[in-house]
């Protein structure tokens, strides 16, 4: 009989006043007894709506059943049949719009904390499972994967399990893509990503860092080297700016740059090799998860005041609910229904050599109201004439999305891209206009979620396997 408590067991978290000043993980994970108690809330429904809500279709009731029986390793094995990165997904998936949104328990109360249980199982495995997984028998085929972010790692993992010799090419010096340069330590510790990458290496996946496909090697050269298929998961590209005056002043960052400096280059540490502007007043423009990550990073770097500036209202904030709540608890101010019109900088009228010249001093914003719904049904924000005001700030972070990376399309003949530069694919397989070339993740969709990128990597792995087995 299931536990009929309508509430999810709360996730233990670091105290907001403490965590606002450190980079350690905010959510500390369920202890074993809480995990068992939460697992007992699952009704083990026959029609399993949660599975359909998961982009990689993890067999959710089955793993929860194993968990409930105390077979944590068995639960892990079930998850890893579908997901290459359980410890990551348990932390960063927007479960409230996916598996948990479909949970029957959510109709009269809160859904089962599926993400929290997944995290518990994955962390248990990483802490306890000593034996390396058995390497699958090689099937004699070679596949190249471009990019070691969530879509690439998923595609690589699925193919390696089927016996493919997979090489992942990573442009940066560390594997993990957005999981290491973008998502901050306090939300996804880098040790977790390293562990997931090690798990793939143990399966036989080779990871070559410092290789930029489209520059160091081209897609065509990968085929010449004997790879029979190529999956492109090269991720988000150039950051978008608003096109307002003052965006080149010193102290204006893209979220990609701000987060990369802090995460990948470890600028958050004492005495780092890579600089970052710390302290003062920070405005983050945007309302997605990346904006929340940037705002909370700025706070932890020592900012006195951090504001999210978003042109719509709370209801339309695209970030995960949990991230918004955490940000609010930590003291991030939400300046909603505001839109920047200009970034202001210092200029000493008497001294063109004043070292303070060119640094940000403020941001002009205009208040907005919600007007008629647009074609997607979201109410369109409309500026209120004459409502401009100046927000005094020292740093501005633009977190308003990215456009797909330009390097591969410019060096791969016959690879069709859309108007925004995203690679055109057949959605169910990731197949591109080039034979043997597949793609997925942000390189196709523009900025989206980790799990949707993983779903695309998984679909492509299946399609690559089908194509190569047929050949």
């Amino acid at each position: 009989m299931a536990d009929m408590n309508p509430k999810k067991h709360p996730m233990p978290t670091q105290d907001p006043a403490v965590r606002a000043h450190n980079f350690e993980e905010v959510a500390m994970g369920y202890p074993e007894e809480t995990a068992l108690a939460e697992a007992a809330r699952c009704l083990n429904c026959k029609n399993m709506p949660c599975v359909a809500g998961c982009p990689v279709n993890v067999h959710i009731p089955a793993f929860i059943e194993k968990l409930r029986a105390g077979d944590f390793e068995g639960a892990y094995q079930i998850i890893s049949e579908s997901s290459s990165l359980p410890a990551v997904c348990g932390r960063v998936c927007p479960q409230e719009t996916q598996c948990e949104a479909k949970c029957v328990r959510g109709i009269k109360g809160e859904p089962v904390g599926i993400g929290r249980l997944e995290r518990f199982v994955a962390d248990w495995h990483n802490a306890h499972a000593a034996a390396a997984p058995e390497k699958p028998r090689p099937n004699g085929h070679r596949v190249a994967v471009v990019g070691s972010g969530p879509s690439g790692l998923t595609c690589a993992g699925d193919l390696a399990r089927l016996g493919y010799a997979v090489t992942v090419f990573e442009a940066l010096h560390t594997a993990g893509g957005v999981l290491v340069y973008g998502i901050p330590e306090f939300r996804l510790p880098k040790a977790i990503v390293r562990q997931e990458v090690e798990n793939l290496r143990a399966l036989g996946v080779e990871i070559d860092t410092n290789i930029v496909i489209g520059k160091t090697l081209t897609v065509d050269e990968l085929f010449e080297q004997g790879f029979e298929a190529v999956f492109i998961g090269s991720g988000a590209g150039l950051p978008n700016f608003m096109g307002i005056p003052g965006e080149s002043l010193k102290g204006v960052y893209s979220a990609n740059e701000f987060l990369t400096r802090s995460n990948l280059m470890k600028a958050y540490r004492e005495d780092p090799a890579t600089p970052i502007m710390k302290g003062g007043r920070v405005a983050v423009v945007g309302g997605g998860n990346v904006a929340m990550d940037a705002a909370r990073t700025a706070l932890r770097l020592g900012a006195e005041q951090v504001s999210i500036v978003y042109r719509r209202s709370l209801e339309e904030l695209p970030a995960r609910k949990e991230e918004v709540e955490h940000a609010m608890e930590e003291g991030i101010e939400f300046k909603l229904l505001n839109n920047p019109v200009e970034v202001l900088g210092y200029q000493n009228p008497d001294d063109p050599r004043d070292p303070k010249n060119g640094f940000v001093t403020g941001m002009r914003c205009i208040r907005m109201e919600l007007g008629e719904p647009d074609e997607r049904g979201r109410r369109r924000p409309v500026p209120i004439p004459g409502s401009e005001f100046t927000l005094p700030v020292d740093t501005v972070v633009m977190a308003i999305g990215t456009s797909p990376n330009p390097l591969i399309k410019s060096t791969t003949a016959g690879l069709e891209v859309n108007r925004w530069g995203g690679i055109v694919v057949e959605e169910s397989t990731g197949a591109t206009s080039r034979k043997g070339v597949y793609a997925g993740g942000d390189a196709v969709t523009g900025a989206a979620t980790v799990i949707s990128a993983m779903g695309a990597g998984k679909a492509a792995a299946k399609a690559i396997d089908a194509a190569l087995q047929e050949a």
Partner: protein, 287 residues
């Protein structure tokens, strides 16, 4: 790891290294750059390719010791290794179809200008080179430039070698005398490139400059290397790592680039002093 095959000091602060990086060496072209990290804790710095040997699989870098990372790199010797070395990044310098080019190099920028001059010269283009330094002590690559140029002007600001004055002096004189290059390619400090462009502009001769802004990934992800171009009265944002590093000098907003380049000046100075002290202490303790 990437092994340092050879090291040579070109002057007291400028060092040439040949780094074993076969994949980069196979593709590198004049005008492109690499990004390196000295060690596991290091920052990523971009350096423009100063040469390559496709058979040996080596890439030449020439750098001036100006900060913590270059100081650390400068202490390494042949046989040592560096942690990361990735490239070639950015677009090659456009050299096709040119017949009469003036290559202008300033200071350590000459290291980047040299392979451009060599490529043009080998392709049969008439190359006039103007290289400038603050003083004789800082002179580099004179013989190499002489071999790659039909005519060479060597300038020093203090007149201690060659002709006195900066690089715009002979450039202006040639243009005034009626010389009509198809293209001027200016590579050096921002302020030098700004003045080279100003010197060429009255004659309407195309002038390419090589931008070297602060960047992190170098692959079109972080956006830190952005600069403003003024195209037909409109300000357009471009990214040096994927759109450049070469740009039309007439369009570049140099004042903005100079300002942005100084964003971390205080941090950089402190890091440099600290690294020098640390390296000196290490050297003292090892005798």
């Amino acid at each position: 790891m990437y092994v340092i095959k050879a090291k040579q000091a070109l002057n007291p602060t400028v060092i040439r290294m040949e780094i074993s990086a076969p994949l980069v060496a196979a593709k590198a072209q004049p005008g492109q750059f690499i990004i390196l990290r000295v060690d596991e804790e290091g920052e990523r710095i971009p350096l423009t390719v100063a040469g390559y040997d496709r058979e040996q699989g080596t890439v030449t870098i020439i750098f001036q010791i100006v900060g913590a990372t270059t100081a650390q790199l400068g202490r390494l010797e042949a046989g040592d290794s560096i942690q990361d070395f990735v490239g070639p990044l950015g677009m090659p310098t456009h050299t096709e179809g040119l017949h009469n080019v003036c290559v202008v190099g300033g200071g350590v920028g000459c290291a980047i200008a040299l392979p451009v001059a060599q490529k043009l010269h080998e392709a049969g283009c008439r190359v006039t080179s103007v290289i400038g330094f603050r003083s004789k002590d800082l002179l580099i690559l004179e013989d190499e430039f002489r071999a790659a140029s039909d005519k060479l002007y060597v300038m020093t600001d203090d007149g201690s070698y060659g002709e006195p004055g900066n690089v715009t002096v002979p450039l202006k004189a040639m243009l005034e005398a009626g010389e009509r290059f198809d293209q001027v390619i200016a590579i050096g400090p921002l302020i030098m490139m700004k003045f080279a462009v100003a010197a060429v502009k009255p004659y309407g001769i195309p002038c390419t400059v090589s931008m070297n802004p602060i960047m992190i990934d170098g692959t079109g992800m972080c956006g830190g290397c952005r600069l403003t171009l003024h195209q037909d009265g409109k300000a357009v944002t471009k990214f040096a790592c994927v759109d450049g590093p070469d740009f039309d000098g007439y369009q570049v907003d140099f004042d903005e680039a100079i300002s942005r380049g100084a964003m971390y000046r205080d941090f950089e100075r402190r890091a440099y002093e600290k690294t020098c002290n640390l390296l000196n202490r290490e050297e003292a303790s090892h005798g």
